[in-house]
Symmetry: C2
Subunit: 344 residues, 2 copies
């Protein structure tokens, strides 16, 4: 490749293959299937119920929910594929080239609320957009524990890092940072959990990080991220597939490992209280949720991410030297979990 | 009064008295005291606990919470009085004359979550602003029943209408409409409850209604509202005092009347489910909550409005011909409650 063609590739987005939409959509549906199968297996009680739905303006989806299982109090795994004439202004600001073009968007998203407070809540979302001359991949996965187990956070991050490292050494550190910054509750001064990876607007161009997201504490990190060589559509699709496929190995061992741990009212109450933070994040900050609600999204599918039972308590603070306090002090702040080593 | 001085009074905001801040603040603190006393009396079990707090940028408040009472599962009544150098942009859009001036704001707000599902949740907020050449009053009160009792909705609205009618015949119809439009969940196609009254930016000028609020279904009503003669600061302060004082007579008879009604799991589950709508409204739409969270408000006081226990359920719809269905069909849509008459 000559220097000329390299700089041209950076300046203009390489074309996707002619069957790009079909391939991504197919992958995301298969991912939904495989995730649901894997989760039913570890639950051992309930199964997913599916609702197929159509969107008036074009497209539709299949929403799947598992309820009152052995392991999962509630979990939702959604696939959707939609198209229309105008992307929302919030996206056009980031991708002005898409203005005036019809768009296509497909994605798979998931939130799981386990019953046992020792098992973390987990969220996953991978998505793909095309609009006129532009296309991009986005998504991520993040873990929200209620009780502090460093080995769980480390396992989760190490698994994601392995998937990322197969594609580019800059991916994990950049997208881990982005995740910490995006899933941040400014009004609480807390991360949502121990994070994971998050990325958006990944196309053939060399810019990895499109933040900061305006969620508060991003500015100090903005020096740390850079650009990489240009990437093809195939590079990025392969990366997203690896990320999606990393979910079960990242989460299942944690869920299975904690499933048998006995708990009482104290742990259950703390779990219900902490679930309130999930609601606060999704309704106050999450751009996908807010956009979906304020436009013509399918409300029940969007709000499937909310926990089945939640508690708020005025003025709660954890007692010092308890597991609950350790969660606040160590797990609700960004940490380098991928390099965590057990202390002897 | 000559025609000249009348039109001048409409064009420019009449001055408040020199002790305006002190008088409003005093009234709002007394209102907080009287409301708390009245609620403790009907609860008969728990009492309000107070937290005094100061705001770094200027001012402070006193937050009071009642918990695990006989009647109230949780209730919060806040008073605050704050000042600073810049009003937020969202307010400056409505009051550009305030730009570049220091502001003063004081308010009393309240949300009550009763335990018995037959007793409605209720919200009240009255506030006063000054900034440079402008001042205004805002606020309102609205009722959110879980079970449909037309006589309760009618009593609430008739009591508010009486308070309004003592000041201007246009107040109740205009502010009732504004309330229906503001407390509207677009993504659910539901009002939050049976409404009440809501108003904002009430100053000496003749414009009553500053909406629509962009919450969806306001446009069709925008013809119905007009202007009134100019009003003095004293007129409006007297009106707001009457509104505040109308709370106990509007709500206490409803709470006392339903307190003894027995309920079971069905009613409790429906109450917890419907409380989810309260959370959705406050976190997705309520400008005060969102602004408070995204700036430097006292989070615990702002989120005191959230219910102590909440349930979400994917795909819930009430069974036909049940009280729950009647709530949706008749009570979560604007109705002319003030003119309701019992059918023989």
């Amino acid at each position: 490749m000559t220097a000329f063609s390299t700089s041209e590739a950076i300046a203009s987005n390489p074309l996707p293959p002619s069957d790009s939409r079909q391939r991504v959509s197919q992958f995301l549906q298969t991912l939904q299937d495989r995730i649901c199968n894997g989760l039913e297996k570890i639950d051992g009680g309930a199964t997913f119920q599916e609702d197929k739905w159509e969107r008036e303006e074009g497209g539709g989806g299949r929403s799947r929910v598992i309820r009152e299982g052995n392991l999962f109090e509630q979990g939702g795994v959604n696939f959707s594929e939609v198209w229309g004439s105008d992307l929302p202004p919030s996206i056009l600001v980031q991708r002005p080239e898409a203005a005036g073009h019809r768009f296509y968007a497909t994605g798979t998203s998931m939130v799981l609320h386990p019953r046992n407070p020792y098992i973390p809540t987990v969220h996953l979302n991978y998505r793909y957009f095309e609009a006129g001359p532009v296309w991009w991949f986005g998504g991520g996965i993040d873990l929200t524990p209620y009780y502090p187990f460093a080995e769980d956070a480390a396992h989760f991050h190490k698994t994601l890092k392995q998937a990322c490292d197969r594609h580019h050494s800059e991916y994990y550190p950049t997208f881990k940072l982005w995740c910490d910054e995006y899933f941040y509750l400014k009004h609480r001064g807390e991360t949502r959990g121990v994070g994971g990876i998050f990325f958006d607007y990944q196309d053939g161009q060399g810019v990895l990080y499109r933040g900061p997201d305006g969620q508060g504490h991003a500015a100090k990190h903005s020096q740390q991220v850079g650009t990489v060589r240009e990437r093809t559509w195939e590079d990025l699709f392969a990366f997203v597939q690896d990320c999606g496929n990393a979910f079960l190995p990242a989460y299942v061992p944690i869920a299975e490992g904690r499933q048998g741990t006995a708990y009482g009212d104290r742990e259950r109450n703390f779990q219900l209280y902490r679930r309130g933070r999930y609601v606060e994040f999704n309704l106050v900050y999450d751009r996908g949720t807010i956009f979906g609600l304020q436009t013509n999204g399918r409300t029940e599918s969007i709000l499937m991410s909310l926990p089945p039972l939640v508690r708020w308590e005025y003025g709660y603070t954890p007692e010092p030297n308890t597991p609950e306090a350790e969660l606040y002090e160590r797990f609700l702040k960004p940490q380098d979990w991928a390099n965590w080593v057990p202390t002897a």
